[in-house]
Structures are given as C-alpha cells and as structure tokens.
C-alpha cells in the first residue's frame, strides 16, 4: 500500500488514471456538465454545506457510532474490532448520505422529477425518503428479481410515495435497472435529475457520490482518535459499486491504514456465478464509465450473481479500479455462504443483524484476523442493517 502525498483525482475530465470519464450518449453531456457546475458552486457555499450538515445531524442521525465489538473481538482474538454503524442511519443504510446531498443539488438545478435505480432497495428507499421530504416526484427502477427478494423495501418505497418501475430486461437486477434509469434520463432530461446510488456511472457522479459518502470516513477518523488515540491498522468494507467503501476509505488514503474491499464471490470465483469484478474482471466501458467489468471475451456484459442484491452488479466504481491498479486498496471476495455465516456470527456475538452486503465485510475477518496482532485495530463498515434480508437469511439458515 502506498502513502500518498497528494491525491487529487479525478482530473477535470473525470478520469482516475485511465478509468472513469464520460462514456455516454451526447444527450447526457449537457446535464452532466450542469450537474458538475452546480456541484462545484454549491460545495463552496456555506449555506449549502450548513444545510447538508444539519440534515445529516437532525434527519439522518449522524454522526453514527463507532462501536467497539467486544464479542467479536473475543471470538477472533488478536486485533480490536470496531464497527462503523451506518446501519443506524435513518432508512437503515449509508445510502441516505448521498440521497440527501443529491436532492439538494436537484432542487438547485430546478428539477421536479427524480429517478433512481436500486438493487437491494436501500438506495431506492433513501431516494424515496428524500423525495417525500422535499416534495419531488420519485420513480425508482428495480429489477424484477430484486423486487422479489427485497419485497419489504418495495413496499417501503411505495409507502413513501414513490413509483417502483419493474425492469424485466437482461438479468432483471441492478445493472438492468441502471440501464432503464439512464434511458429514462436521456428521454426526460429537461425536468429530471438522476440520483445514482453508488460511485459509478459517468463523471461527475463518482466524484459527487464519494464526496457525500466520505462523511463516513471523516467521522470514523475522529472517533477512532477519541477512542484509541490513533488510526486503525485496517479498514474493511464491502464493494458492489463501492460507495460505502469509498466513503470510509477516502479520508484515510493519505495515511498508513490498510484498506480492504470485499467483493461478492457468489457461489465461488471458480464458478461463473459471482460478482467479483475487481478480482476477475478486466477493463471495460459500461454505463458511462471505464472501469473493471465482468464480461465475455467478446465484450458482452456477464450475467452475475450474489445473494446480496446490493452487490449483484458486473461493474464497479472507477476509483476502485484505480485503487486496485495503484494498490491504494486491496480487494478480496467472499462467497454467499460465508456472508450468511458472518450474518449469523455478528447477530449472535454483537446483537447486530447486518445487511447481507455488509456481512461480506464481516466474513472477510475469517481471513484477516488470524494475521492481526494484539494491539492492532480493525474497523469494519456496517453499511446497512439486515431487516430487508430476513427472508433470504431465513431460507438459508432454515430455522
């Protein structure tokens, strides 16, 4: 891992090294430019920053705690384990951090209609929530497979006043929901803002979403200093598109902390049913960005699998691709079964039921902890809570 003196990516064209960029149809260039301009303008304005800070505090419930995981630490032996509790955010996951930031941008842009894609439904719920609060029309694209496995979140979105539009193309999951959202945006670009839910898509989205999510890492830095008087040795987070991981990693990239992203290995990386994009993918152009991509020899996007709807995605944020190549972070993967076991472990040792996405980060502790020493510190980002996954977990555990 490198210690970086100065990291100032993306560049003005939105590139992280060779990754990122704006690989979109011409229609979207102008709204992307407008979004970029309003973002640069507002991110310097005190009123905007104050409003967002106040919402984070009074509406989301930030700062979220950094909980010492005593039971889990005892279970493994070795380093002390802390949990960053994004599961305690209003709506139950870190997705609200980005949704709140972007709804303020949308309002400033004068947009009246909001669209979003969702996989696990957490970003859909977060978007529906902020639309309800700010009185904007909300349309959420969601794959039919995900609608089935995250039915509780579908109902939550509807209760919040959003329209959930089922997507039946392709694998009927997150990537297809994203395609449909982009098509909607191309068509309704005048009055519509697209709230992308992760650090993916064309510039400036990966940069903007990183900025709104990096509050996770900023808080963590202060909290661990207060608790331990120093920075951690390791930070572990799950990676689908990679927003919770970038959020907690970003404030630490200039320090000597080992950053570990955990992807979904599905049925195993030796099968073709996984989403381990950084582990097994290669450079591609997909959904507006150049990044690692799971694809066939002919450049068709692969059908992927994860038990966790939020990680079930063949692409990954371009900054993670850069982090991988430059070894700013390391990336590994764990299987569906390992994630399920980790869900059970965290529930029974800490009384915290994590989202299946976050359970992937916990599952990696099986590999990491034997290498740690007493006196070291590991922080795991619990990006969301597991209520939405109870049916899936129940089916798997069978009790």
């Amino acid at each position: 891992m490198q210690v970086l003196d100065k990291y100032n990516l993306p560049d003005l064209k939105g590139h992280f090294g060779k990754y990122g960029g704006k690989y979109v149809p011409e229609t979207l260039i102008t709204p992307l430019k407008e979004l970029e301009e309003i973002y640069f303008q507002l991110s310097k304005e005190k009123n905007f920053l104050d409003e967002l800070e106040n919402l984070n505090k009074e509406y989301t419930g930030r700062p979220t705690p950094l909980t010492f995981a005593e039971g889990l630490t005892k279970y493994f032996g070795g380093a002390k384990i802390y949990l960053k509790r994004e599961d305690l955010c209003h709506t139950g996951a870190h997705k609200i951090n980005n949704a709140l930031g972007q709804i303020l941008l949308a309002k400033k842009l004068g947009k009246t209609r909001i669209i979003a894609e969702t996989g696990a439904g957490q970003h859909g719920v977060a978007t529906a929530t902020v639309c309800a609060k700010f009185g904007l029309k909300c349309f959420i694209y969601m794959g039919e497979v995900d609608i089935e496995r995250q039915s509780l979140n579908v109902f939550r979105m509807k209760l919040l006043g959003a329209e959930v539009i089922p997507v039946s193309s392709g694998s009927k999951t997150l990537k297809d929901a994203t395609n449909e959202a982009i098509r909607d945006w191309v068509t309704n670009v005048k009055d519509t803002h697209y709230i992308i839910g992760s650090v993916v898509g064309p510039h400036p989205y990966p940069m903007i979403v990183r900025e709104f999510q990096s509050i996770i890492g900023k808080e963590t830095k202060v909290q661990i200093q207060n608790a331990e008087g120093r920075l951690p040795n390791y930070i572990v987070a799950c990676v689908g598109g990679g927003s919770n991981a970038i959020g907690i990693f970003y404030p630490f990239i200039n320090s000597n902390v080992k950053l570990i992203g955990v992807e979904a290995a599905g049925y195993g990386i030796n099968t073709n049913k996984h989403c381990a994009t950084l582990t097994l993918g290669r450079e591609g152009i997909f959904q507006g960005m150049k990044s690692y991509l799971l694809q066939t020899d002919e450049g068709q996007v692969s059908e992927v699998h994860s038990i966790s709807a939020g990680l079930d995605y063949p692409g990954v944020g371009p900054e993670h691709s850069y982090f991988k190549d430059e070894v700013i972070a390391d990336y590994f993967s764990v299987t569906d079964d390992e994630a399920i076991s980790a869900t059970e472990l965290l529930s029974k040792t800490e009384g915290i039921i994590p989202a299946l996405e976050s359970a992937h980060a916990i599952a990696f502790l099986d590999y990491l902890m034997p290498k740690t020493k007493n006196g070291e510190i590991v922080i795991v980002n619990i990006s969301g809570r597991g209520d939405k996954d109870l049916n899936t977990i129940k089916d798997k555990l069978g009790y």
Binding site: K22, T27, N179, R183, V189, F286, G288, E298, V301
Partner: protein, 261 residues
C-alpha cells in the same frame, strides 16, 4: 474506396436527399442477412448502418434492444459483422457504416477493429457512447482511415455543435429527439426548430437526421432541413413482422426514398 461525404454531396447535387438505413447485424436471420442488406440497397437505401450487438444498449429503445438480443442469441459478434460486410461489399459501392457500443470494440481491440474495418470495406463507424470528451482516448490513429461519425442532440449547444462538426467525419448524425431510438416525436415543431438550428451551425460536414423517423410523413417533415435521413427502429420493427421476402420492409424503403428524392 468511396468517400461518404462526397457520396452524400453527389446525391444532394442531383437534388436528392440520402436515405441511410440501420440494420442490426444478423437480424432477423443470420443466414439471409447479406441478401436482405442487398435487397434494401436495391429498394432505395443509399447507405447502410450495420449495428453489431451489445448486451446493454443504453441509447436504444425496446425495438433495437430486442433485435440486439436476437442477434446475440444468433451468435452475432463483431467478427461475423465484418464477414457480412465483406460479402455485401462485393456487390455494392455504397457507403457501409458500422454502428455499436464502445465495449465490444474495446474488447475486440480498437486497433484491430480499425484495421479490419478498413480491409473489409467499411467506410465509417458510429459509437454512440464515445462523445468528444473521450474521442482521443478511444479513436486512436488507426481510425484515420475510417470516418468517425459523431452525434448532436437537442441538448447540444451551438458552441458544442461546432466542436462536434470539427471532429466528426463522413457526416454529423443529428438526433432529432432527446431519448432512445424508436421514440416518437412529442412535438414536431420543436424538433424541426432544433434541426434548422443545427443545420445552420454545421459547416464542415453533411447533416443526416435520425431517431424518431418512422414513416413518409416524418421523412417529408425533416428532409428539407438536412442532407438526408436515417431510419432504424421502423425498419427493424417492420422486419419483425414481415413475410419471407421482406416485401413490407422493401416497400417502406421505396416509399421513404420516394418521399425525399
């Protein structure tokens, strides 16, 4: 080899607007695709845009998404599309253009793609997810032997149209509606105003209008304000429900060409 811009100029100087027809490679039937392409040229198409399929065609509406899916199921890829074009080229001098998304080209190898295209008689390429921002990153110098046709849309400012005109070669593809392929015009008046504006700004290239042109009436509306029209979804849609001899589709092509002569 024929030059697209000169070809369009020659047609225009005879008082004709050109008709460019989009076909999805290997669709509906890969065994008769070359024959279909030649029949469409015979029926009045001045040039062909042949789309190689991608699993995630962002800029396309349901009709071309469907034809791409069928093409993929038929095992169509970039190499097979080159093979078709090589066969078509043996029988025609008209411009042949390849159209598709960036990722399959990246996977095929951009250099290898450009070289193969030149050797098989392809005149130009349209890659809708490469805007001018990524032009240099994608179109390396091997593409200098091919026309790289860029798009303008109703959200493109005049200043930007000028930049696109500068970089584009072959022609400028003027997308007449904000939206995906196959979309109907909400308001033809606005579309005509946009096309007039665009046409007055584009100086270097010829301008062809596409997206949302599905019948003679549309052709009649837009043709006076550009150098030619492009028809895609309407042809694909017609091919889906046509007889074995594609008589309905050929009739559509004849009518469209007849309208804009």
């Amino acid at each position: 080899m024929i030059n697209i811009a000169n070809y369009i100029s020659n047609k225009n100087s005879k008082g004709e607007k050109v008709l460019s027809v989009f076909l999805t490679s290997g669709f509906p039937d890969k065994n008769n695709f070359v024959e279909l392409a030649l029949k469409i040229l015979d029926a009045g198409a001045d040039m062909l845009e042949i789309g190689f399929p991608f699993s995630d065609p962002l800029a396309d509406g349901p009709i071309i998404q469907h034809s791409s899916q069928i093409a993929l199921e038929n095992g169509i890829n970039i190499q097979k599309t080159f093979n078709f074009i090589e066969d078509i080229r043996k029988h025609t001098d008209k411009p042949l253009i390849m159209m598709g998304y960036a990722n399959p080209v990246l996977s095929f190898g951009t250099k290898r793609f450009a070289e193969t295209a030149k050797n098989t008689g392809v005149n130009g390429v349209i890659i809708p997810d490469i805007p001018i921002e990524e032009y240099e990153n994608f179109f390396n110098e091997e593409f200098s032997n091919l026309d790289t046709i860029l798009l303008v849309t109703p959200t493109t400012s005049n200043d930007r149209i000028k930049l696109i005109d500068e970089k584009s070669s072959g022609f400028v593809y003027c997308v007449s509606v904000s939206g995906t392929t196959g979309l109907k015009h909400q308001n033809k008046f606005t579309s005509v105003e946009f096309i007039k504006r665009t046409y007055s700004v584009i100086k270097k290239n010829k301008t062809l209008v596409g997206f949302g042109i599905s019948n003679e009436e549309d052709a009649k509306t837009f043709a006076p304000f550009c150098d030619g029209i492009i028809v895609g979804s309407a042809v694909i849609s017609s091919l889906m429900n046509d007889d074995k001899g594609n008589s309905k589709t050929l009739k559509l092509i004849k009518k469209l060409k007849g309208t804009i002569i």
